[in-house]
Symmetry: C2
Subunit: 185 residues, 2 copies
């Protein structure tokens, strides 16, 4: 019978991140992560499929929250709907600033993690585009609106999670959405 | 001494694409591709690092052409400079419509190829953003302008290379750039 493991998931994520920053992603094994978190490797694999996925747990919650927000959004332009949904759906990240900052450092330092991040963002874009078409926006408009909004989200997130003081995440995303509007206009 | 292999590179790309569409990307080996092209495996590896790269030869030429166009572009908004450079840099693709259409089908059919395509586009964005900052556009504006323009380029390219008749590539890209401007405004 498995031990009761309160918050094993969060502990695994924190341990993984500590190790990636201490000794590098390549040099860290799942066994190392499990040991640091005080659980077995089997527990690791109950929560995550591989050692990259540990850092992308928030992405799934983000996507779910964004799609929910799009479904209930009032009428508006596709870009505004997608942008506001990204602000709403990422609200839970606001209190994870310290983790996010360390996560960004780990991802920037490793090409493999960076690729995974790009793919997750591309999937988020595709999911948002689909949700927008369900609300009646035709393609390629839905796709272009989704990609533009996700691009602004990523820029805002990077500023927020980067080194030094920054405004709240919501404000960083809104500023990037406005900046993109200004640039493209 | 190696045989003289006129246009081995193009023949390898065409043979690979034929095989990916006939039997699938997973089911095709480098040996199969080389045999179909009438060259040795060694010749394959002189031209490409792996069987995915065969389909991304144009991406490198595209990126080189786009960066060159940015370097010599007249004053303008970062989005316009990036958009026009993508139109100029992709002109050589215009006569490769048939190959591009089959390539799009092969990439759409395989998640691994689709991931590689996303990464190549992300790298293209990053290179454009860097070229824009060299011209004096600050970040995150340069990055946002580059990502928006590449997003429009990809939508235009997809329309052009998709099934059925379409306007020339340049026109498809310009239409997507205008559409993105309309959506975000």
């Amino acid at each position: 019978m498995a031990r009761w493991e309160p918050d094993a998931r969060a502990r695994l994520a924190n341990s993984a991140l500590d190790l990636y920053l201490e000794r590098g992603f390549e040099q860290t094994t799942v066994a190392d992560i499990a040991a640091r978190a005080g659980v077995t490797e089997r527990t690791f694999f109950r929560h995550f499929t591989d050692k990259r996925e540990v850092l992308f747990d928030g992405t799934h919650s983000l996507q779910a929250g964004v799609l929910e927000a799009i479904a209930v959004a009032p009428e508006g332009s596709a870009y505004d709907i997608a942008g506001s949904a990204l602000v709403t759906g990422s609200a839970f990240l606001e209190e994870r600033g310290e983790f996010a900052g360390r996560r960004t450092r780990a991802i920037t330092a490793n090409p493999e993690l960076h690729e995974r991040e790009l793919l997750k963002l591309a999937r988020l874009s595709a999911a948002i585009a689909e949700a927008l078409t369900e609300r009646g926006t035709a393609n390629p408009s839905a796709r272009l609106a989704a990609e533009a909004a996700v691009s602004a989200f990523a820029a805002g997130f990077e500023r927020w999670s980067g080194a030094g003081e920054s405004p709240p995440l919501a404000e960083c995303i809104r500023a990037a959405l406005a900046e993109l509007r200004r640039i493209v206009a």
